[in-house]
């Protein structure tokens, strides 16, 4: 196996206390298929992962000079990842090709994402592949009501995995899946295990879970989910008792959390967009829990994949080509926003004003 200084994919596994993160990892990483996976946990698990590499990361938060907690750097996580990489390079540990990082149940993902994106050493050696949030089917409603960390974990996810589906009935499971889809329209929702049959939801078990952990978020899937978000936004639609009305916010249960899909019909001017979006995140980053979507850039055939968690924007990816036209006719820009106390109208109007004011200068 190559020991070259390539960039290793890192999957972040999060979820509230007792939601089944360690159980998931124990199931997924058992056997030969997971031999080349390194695991970092921020507490000692009692799972027998003998053949794997377990590092311990204690939570130590070093604040950056801007004082923003969500951009704080987890110093020991950085040290653990850097040490793991140098051990691999020196041949002191088996040559792994991917890394799973399991957080504590009370961790919010944003500072961890900040560490991965901001640190020059870490970002040269690791790339955040996907964030997976495990949601406890039994206790989800209570955790949502009582713990803000639960919401931060759900909104930051690329994939939501519902655990313990066998302990609740089919109706509750479908309702939970629907409410998660309303909270985070950009995420893929999966159900653990192969129990009974909620329709339209993928079931993953065993080997498939490993693929689920390491599959990177596909743009085609994203377009499909953006389409779903758009349908919800445009049609009055009853979804297991949750009503989503035209032009209004989804019924998410949390009073001030809104998720909506902002659509821009004309191709966007990249410079205008960067100015507007950096300014929006600077002033309202703490209220923008998540932004994910595809942008159609004027003068370019390549769509740009934008992905932000609070103030933090992942490196922008320019895809080779647009996914099939049937999924996104007209190649419109679509951005899913999950916000707390910021309305769709305010954001769309603000962008339209910026576009109008600044594009006069370009043309």
């Amino acid at each position: 196996m190559s020991l070259s200084y390539d960039i290793l994919p890192l999957t972040l596994v999060t979820g509230f206390l007792g939601s089944g993160k360690s159980t998931l990892l124990a199931d997924v990483l058992r056997g030969d298929a997971a031999q080349d996976t390194a695991v970092l946990v921020n507490e000692f698990g009692d799972v027998g992962l003998d053949h794997l590499l377990i590092g311990e990361v204690n939570a130590r938060t070093v604040l950056l000079d801007n004082g923003c907690v969500c951009c704080s750097i987890r110093g020991e996580l950085k040290d653990a990842l850097a040490a793991l990489f140098s051990q691999r390079a020196r041949g002191e540990v088996p040559p792994f090709t991917r890394v799973v990082l399991e957080t504590t149940g009370l961790a919010t993902p944003a500072p961890i994402v900040a560490t991965l994106l901001a640190d020059p050493v870490i970002r040269s050696h690791y790339a955040l592949n996907a964030t997976i949030t495990v949601v406890d089917a039994v206790n989800a409603a209570e955790q949502r009501a009582r713990h803000p960390e639960w919401l931060a974990q759900v909104t930051a996810a690329d994939r939501l995995l519902i655990s313990k589906p066998d302990l609740v009935d089919e109706t509750r499971l479908t309702e939970l899946a629907a409410s998660l889809a309303a909270l985070n329209p950009a995420a893929e929702i999966l159900i653990r295990g192969d129990v009974s049959s909620a329709k339209g939801i993928d079931r993953h078990a065993g080997r498939a879970l490993l693929d689920m952990l390491f599959a990177s978020a596909s743009s085609i899937d994203l377009i499909g989910r953006l389409g779903r978000a758009q349908r919800l936004a445009n049609e009055d639609m009853t979804m297991n008792g949750l009503l989503a009305h035209r032009g209004e916010r989804y019924s998410t249960g949390a009073a001030s959390i809104q998720s909506f899909c902002m659509r821009i019909d004309a191709p966007i001017d990249w410079q205008v967009f960067t100015i507007w979006f950096t300014m929006l995140l600077n002033r309202h980053g703490d209220k923008i829990l998540r932004v994910k979507g595809l942008l159609s850039i004027a003068g370019s055939d390549q769509p740009a994949l934008l992905h932000a968690v609070q103030h933090l924007v992942h490196p922008v990816l320019h895809l080779d080509a647009w996914p099939s036209a049937s999924l996104n006719p007209g190649r419109r820009s679509q951005l899913v926003f999950i916000t707390e106390g910021l309305s769709r109208d305010a954001i769309e109007t603000s962008y339209a004003r910026f576009q109008h004011h600044l594009e006069e200068a370009v043309h």
Binding site: I275, N282, A304, L358
Partner: protein, 99 residues
């Protein structure tokens, strides 16, 4: 940092990404970006200049100037110089909402 001339700054902030437009010139796009930012800043008597394609210099009419490496810092520094927030939701309120 630029290895040839030892200039600090640059970095890989997402807003420094060049759009993959045919015939795009990163330096030209950067100058356009600074010019556009000045459409926002000049009414507040602040000015942004490109600094060797690596950073930006934000200056105020009192002579204060600050070297900033990306747009996330531009707005933070501008708010500090102005002493009040710059809220994109309320800027250009007189503009029509549709382009």
């Amino acid at each position: 940092m630029c290895g040839m001339c030892g200039l600090l700054g640059g970095g890989n902030h997402w807003s420094n990404t060049t759009a993959p437009v045919a015939g795009a010139n990163p330096r030209r796009q950067r100058l356009i970006q600074a010019a556009l930012a000045n459409r926002v800043l000049v009414p507040f008597r602040l000015k942004l200049d490109d600094f060797h394609g690596q950073s930006f210099v934000l200056s105020s009419p009192t002579g204060a100037s600050e070297l900033v490496s990306d747009f996330a810092q531009v707005w933070r520094a501008a708010e500090r110089m102005l002493g009040h927030p710059l809220d994109p939701l309320t800027l250009f309120i007189d503009e029509p909402a549709t382009p």
